[in-house]
């Protein structure tokens, strides 16, 4: 983990509620795809945890959804403004488990952390299959970006207005070596049940600090209590305990 000042180089909408922010700064603490950063915003007491979508040298890309006042304020920030960023938070995805045919499944604003993962897996020469799930056509983002990486991409929308109608689990390939996923909890649970292969699941929780100090985001797992922010956000399939 590192604290640093990052300068915004771009901040633009991808859809009505999803924005892409690019920042320049010391990214050296970010060691794995699936990690997150925690941003301090003027006028808000707690930081905002946002997953790392892409990383290229000292440029960081964050894709985030405006879900409340903080992320709405974030969407109004302009290039040239500076942010206090805690970077390199969380464990991230372990790429060494991917096998030969990894499957990446993202739902909504759970798609962004899979982008850097897909990019790194492609750089290792692995064929990568990606399923991106959204509610409706107007919410779809990054489909082309994944295609440009050379991934096999399927988009699903609940209302059928783009790609295949239905949920991500309605279009699973016959086989895969390993699954990496991030998205709303009902989707994670459906993927957990529908995909036979082992995998890594990225979870979301309301956080206090984001670096393991406050115990605000704890969850129960097969291997004991874990902090989503520090021991997660990525949990291995074998250690997940669902609430119900």
């Amino acid at each position: 983990m590192k604290q640093g000042i990052f300068e915004i180089t771009a901040n633009r909408p991808l859809t009505g509620t999803v924005f892409e922010m690019r920042l320049k700064g010391d990214t050296s603490a970010i060691t794995a795809p699936g990690q997150f950063v925690n941003l301090r915003l003027d006028g808000f007491y707690l930081r905002r945890p946002i997953s790392v979508c892409d990383l290229e040298g000292d440029e960081l890309t964050l894709v985030y959804k405006t879900v409340g006042e903080g992320t709405s304020a974030m969407s109004r920030l302009k290039a040239g403004e500076r942010l206090d960023v805690l970077s390199g938070l969380g464990n991230g995805y372990d790429m060494s488990c991917s096998g030969d045919e990894p499957l990446l499944i993202g739902g909504g604003v759970g798609v962004p952390p899979l982008y850097l993962l897909a990019k790194r897996l492609r750089a290792q020469g692995r064929p990568v299959t990606v399923i991106l799930g959204f509610n409706t056509a107007g919410e779809v983002f990054y489909e082309d970006r994944f295609r440009e990486l050379g991934c096999g991409v399927t988009v699903t929308t609940v209302d059928g207005s783009c790609g295949r109608r239905g949920f991500v689990t309605d279009t699973l390939p016959d086989s895969c070596s390993y699954v990496y996923t991030c998205g709303p909890e009902p989707m994670l649970k459906a993927v957990f049940r529908a995909v036979g292969a082992s995998g890594q699941f990225s979870f979301e929780e309301r956080m206090g600090c984001g670096f393991g100090a406050c115990m605000g985001c704890s969850c129960k797992t097969v291997t004991g209590y874990k902090r989503i922010c520090k021991d997660g956000p990525v949990l291995r399939k074998e250690e997940i305990l669902w609430d119900d």
């Binding site: 007491y45 206090g208 600090c209 393991g212």
Partner: protein
């Protein structure tokens, strides 16, 4: 003795800055960021007799100038704290540490403190009386002078180390509770714990916190905390550790003028992990600005 040093119940502190319990774990997360030996001491994560997962999530809600938490005293239990956490703590922190202890019965407190009393690194006990008393109808020990005194006496019997009682602000007369604890043998009083609060989501129309209510902390509570530190320190003859919304060296000086011998920093650690280091670094220049020779000399200066 440096300009910043103070004496807390017979144990010297290099400076009065103490990360508050529940915001600093057992120290090692922060030791990755800076040398935590610059701290006066720190109060470790509230420890109970048995292991606790705590409350369901969400446990955190943001507020204007603060936050609400309902973590619910998650900790591995005193036996594992001693066997696993304290050895790890001892590797990165080499000063006496403040042991924050909670319980749900008088016996719980005594049991936990008796085990921790044998640990050489434990310098002080900070007894959190804000928990519900399961044998007393669930009312918090800290809202009843007699119950608070009973806990103090029970802890006093099992240790000769300094015992500070950490008081809840959610009471009508905090001074009477402080006095009851001092009469029962407390060597010091620390205050304030969090203020009971809640938030409701406009989207779901339900409380944000799964446990409905939680403890409000952060800069918004500083004036309330300062007032209570002032009242209690005027009324008792033992040292008072002040906390509540402290986030700067100026806040530390203000707390000390109100009567605090040492000052804890809580929520601020969670948004600025370097908060305590920054405060310690800033103290000398703030002291210069206000012509303060030594911090020890300003304790209760506003009385």
């Amino acid at each position: 003795m440096g300009r910043l040093s103070v004496n807390l119940c017979g144990i010297p502190l290099d400076n009065p800055v103490i990360p508050a319990s529940g915001t600093f774990g057992y120290g090692y997360e922060f030791a990755e960021l800076y040398d935590i030996n610059i701290l006066g001491t720190f109060s470790f994560k509230g420890t109970t007799r048995e292991a606790r997962f705590g409350n369901p999530t969400p446990r955190i809600a943001e507020c204007t100038a603060g936050m609400i938490n309902a973590v619910g005293l998650q900790n591995p239990g005193v036996v594992r704290v001693i066997s696993e956490e304290l050895p790890r703590l001892g590797k990165c922190f080499h000063k006496p540490v403040m042991a924050n202890v909670s319980g749900f019965s008088v016996e719980d407190y005594a049991y936990t403190c008796a085990l921790l009393d044998r640990e050489p690194q434990v310098g002080w006990f900070e007894v959190n009386v804000s928990c519900p008393n399961v044998h007393g109808g669930g009312m918090s020990f800290g809202t009843d002078p007699r119950a608070a005194a009973e806990v103090t006496k029970a802890v006093r019997r099992v240790t000769s180390k300094p015992v500070l009682v950490k008081l809840s602000p959610n009471v009508t007369d905090i001074v009477s509770i402080a006095k009851a604890c001092v009469d029962a043998g407390a060597d010091g009083i620390s205050l304030i714990n969090t203020l009971l609060g809640m938030r409701i989501s406009l989207k779901t129309r339900r409380p944000v916190i799964a446990n409905t209510m939680g403890g409000f902390s952060g800069p918004a509570i500083f004036p309330v905390a300062l007032r209570m530190v002032y009242q209690v320190s005027k009324a008792v003859k033992v040292p008072v550790v002040g906390m509540g919304g402290v986030r700067s060296a100026r806040d530390v000086v203000e707390m000390m003028l109100a009567g605090a011998t040492a000052v804890e920093v809580g929520a601020e650690n969670l948004v600025n992990p370097y908060a305590c280091r920054d405060i310690i670094n800033d103290l000398p220049s703030v002291m210069d600005e206000y012509h303060i020779e030594t911090l020890e000399s300003i304790i209760g200066g506003a009385h």
